[in-house]
């Protein structure tokens, strides 16, 4: 707490942080801050967002670790959602909250299957989805999933035509209480069974129109959407 500092660098190993004019608040305080911020927001906040709102030198990532532990077994919990965090009620108490239940749009079987394929195979092109389902994917299905913000465009694939790919979003992870897409149920088993491989058909197989309508889509100026 002393204001004096030696002119020479002291070699303390625990001071690797960038120097700051102000000392970061103690970790207990930081935990309170993260708690307040996560409670206040309905949407998940990234560590970066949290740090941006907290005093200089604060370490939201560490504060979250403490906070998460504190809420274990409580009525609300700290959920990891991709690279963000959110407070959500404990699922076993859902029965109390009929009043808060929101009527979700009924998804068609095609939409649910398409969503599952995107989640398990991401990044995946429309042609690949069609190959797996054996039927062409209607524009409406993809639009609906995009509209719900459960999927988004990923990087273009480095194959001829540079087709767009789809990946699932943070909202998707939040909706299904998944920490990351790696935590999808049964993912490991599927991979072990070779069912996530993109196995090409030996010779000519009946496949759905792969190229024509995909080609046009690739030219749309959507490169700014490809962050990752």
């Amino acid at each position: 707490m002393s204001e004096e500092t030696l002119p020479e660098d002291t070699d303390t190993p625990e001071a690797p942080q960038e120097e700051s004019l102000f000392e970061a608040p103690p970790m207990g305080e930081q935990e309170r801050m993260v708690e307040a911020l996560l409670f206040a927001s309905a949407e998940p906040l990234t560590v970066k967002e949290l740090n941006g709102r907290m005093p200089h030198g604060a370490d939201a990532a560490e504060a979250i670790v403490h906070l998460r532990k504190r809420y274990e077994g409580r009525g609300v919990r700290v959920n990891k959602v991709g690279d963000a965090w959110a407070i959500r009620t404990a699922p076993d108490l859902g029965f109390l909250m009929q009043k808060e239940q929101v009527e979700t749009r009924k998804l068609s079987r095609a939409a649910i299957e398409t969503l599952a394929i995107i989640a398990y195979h991401q990044p995946v092109t429309r042609a690949e989805i069609e190959e797996i389902r054996g039927v062409s994917v209607s524009r409406g299905t993809v639009d609906q999933l995009l509209d719900m913000e459960w999927i988004r465009f990923g990087r273009r694939k480095m194959t001829p035509g540079r087709p767009v790919t789809f990946v699932v979003t943070q909202q998707f992870l939040d909706h299904f209480a998944l920490e990351s897409a790696r935590d999808l149920p049964g993912l490991k088993e599927l991979r072990a069974a070779g069912l996530l491989e993109n196995r090409l058909p030996p010779g000519a197989m009946p496949t759905v129109s792969e190229d024509e309508d995909l080609q046009e889509e690739t030219n749309e100026g959507q490169s700014e959407l490809f962050e990752d």
Binding site: E100, A119, R133, F176, L184, P185, L195, P201, P202
Partner: protein, 264 residues
Amino acid sequence: MTEDFIEQSKRDVVAERLAAEALIIDVDGFEGPLDLLLTLSRTQKVDLRTISILQLARQYLAFVEKAKELRLELAADYLVMAAWLAFLKSRLLLPPDPEEEGPSGEELAAHLAFQLERLQAMRDCAAKLMARDQLGKDFFKRGIPEDITKTRIVTYSANLMDLMQGYARMRTKDEFRPFILDRDSVWTMEQALERMRGLIGYAGAWTDIISYLPDGWGNDPKKRRSATAATFAASLELAKEGKVEIRQSGTFEPIQLRSKERGT
């Protein structure tokens, strides 16, 4: 007991018939030929890994025949699949022809089995996914989110040039012409580029870019500044085009370039 048994088997027969009819009537309800194949494969009541593709092909073809009898219109991809399965069936039945190219019947059948298994796996995954706790149904977000008040701080910017121009504009009233550069002491990048394109062919060795300044532009500081900037920008442009290489040994050291064609 026996009556029960008869009743039961009668019921089974009825159920089977109903199922078969349902298949036909619901052809629109299928999500494509692969979905139909998957549904048909269930009648074999075996694991998908041990399914008989030959039998499945027969079932599918029979289904398509039945649909034709009933004058149901099948979408084109169902017919394409039927043609392909007929081909597959013949390949599986006939002894392999060593002359023939392409994948064997077994390979094709294996891939179809893989596709069916993969589709079934995705269906199971979709079901597992939808069975998870869902936001807004089983767990909930904050009901009264506290708004982050956004205080908008507007800062106005103006630089000295704005200020001086503004002042000059008023003091000289109508005679004022905003920001006119004295063009005769300006060397443009286009000019520099044109000049350098003519010269770089001879530049095999590393040469200071200053030597590319046009004659008579090195002495007057104003002209020298403009010409240096233009020549530097032109050098970068040429490097981008892959025509030259540029190097500088350190900050404020001379910037040197050489022709790429010759240099290596």
